[in-house]
Amino acid sequence: MTTEILLAGFGGQGVLFAGKILAYCGLMDSKELSWLPSYGPEMRGGTANCSVCISDQPIGSPLVLTPDILIAMNQPSFDKFVSEVRPGGKVFYDSTLIEAEQTRTDISYFPIESSKLADDNELKGGSNIILLGKVIKETSLFSLETMKKGIEKVVPASKAHLIGNNFKAIEIGMNN
């Protein structure tokens, strides 16, 4: 069983960072996993996306083309990738920034006002982590405990004081 996750948004929204947390969660749970970023000029402010595969088997192609889970952080990413989601798949998106028509009936939509929630709770730049909170609530991908371990792994030692904020963002995502 392989779960293919695609995270997409603007550069700077923390798409790669959120993907890294998922990858580390896989590592914590002793899963096979891969993390593959888009790279190039788009890293510097354009659109960025990131493929994460979590599996019990060795990962084949690390490039996610038909995600089981799509995490969309801006309108162009939502519009571009929603049609690629595998039937039965789940779409998580920031409904503060994305106006979505939920036209597909074979997938589930999980909107959350992650940008607004981040601002309201003074968690600047925490929209990506709030979305991850929503993901662990609505899927059986990882436990909260694993997620917290993953965050502790990814947040650099120099920014360790931000770990609490990330935990808070996860909880907000789980409760909204």
Partner: protein
Amino acid sequence: MERNLMKGNEALAEAAIRAGCKCFFGYPITPQTELAAYMAKRMHKAGGVFLQAESEIAAINMVLGAASTGVRAMTSSSSPGISLKSEGVSYIAGSDLPAVIINVQRGGPGLGGIQPSQADYWQATKALGHGDFQLIVYAPASVQEMVDFVVKAFDRADKYRMPAMILADGLLGQMMEPVSFPEINPDAYDKSSWAANGHKNKREHHIINSLYLKPDELQNSIVERYKKYEIIKETETDAELYLTEDCDVLVCAFGATARVAKSAVNDARAQGIKAGLFRPKTLWPFPVKELNEAAKNAKKLLSVEMSMGQMVDDIKLAINCSKPVEFFGRTGGVIPTPVEVLGEIKRIGGTL
């Protein structure tokens, strides 16, 4: 063993340091820059030398200088930068010096693109510079293999006194996977019989040289080197054979593309199609014996590459053109998908 999560480019660098690489000379180019950045951060702590050179040409010649003194040295680049290094690689080969060169390939020709490619297969295996010479070329397909092959490349470079290359691509360089670092004891090859590190008035002077103005002398030096290549062809080939015992269609792919191909082979098997995978881990020497073993029951072969089919000739030669060899490829930075490869397997399988 502890699993770490690392980008391919960083794992290459860490593995090199653990393998006893004492100096890295590089020049920035996408998509391998993280390797140089990692070296810049780590190398001085490891007691080695990191230097950003003024050009790829300078970098490879710094490697030549360091290697001349018997020190384990490495450089890395991506396709256009490797072209610039080709002069130095030829000199390194002609001077019988060990060195490790990493190519995290991107699309070409010219400035090409920056997305993953395998279009430097010919360059790496046939003609990385002027003259009669070869490099040992390793093609990792995972971050773990990037580690393992770097360790091996340093060892074999020293063992045979010749350059070895890791032929990776942008996908492998950029991706993160769990990776473990084995205990590495860099085999201490005795270089005292040739290294130019000062004779201390205790021996004759050593000369590191690739110049032979007398044709017969140059010929002799090359013939000697080719005897070594014959041993390497006998002993150093490596390949993965996956579900090949009963396969009708044998998919041949290396590096990142082999992962895609493996997914497609699994999908084909799930649909009752007898597909198998042959994945060369060494591109030079090409695993001829291994391919013949893998292909013994196959009716057709399919080479899948991120190029216009640069490996096809080697496959045909290896099996002496005894079976049809078809090709499916993407190039310019486009990555083939498992669905596409499955489609090709079916197309070929359907016309058996």
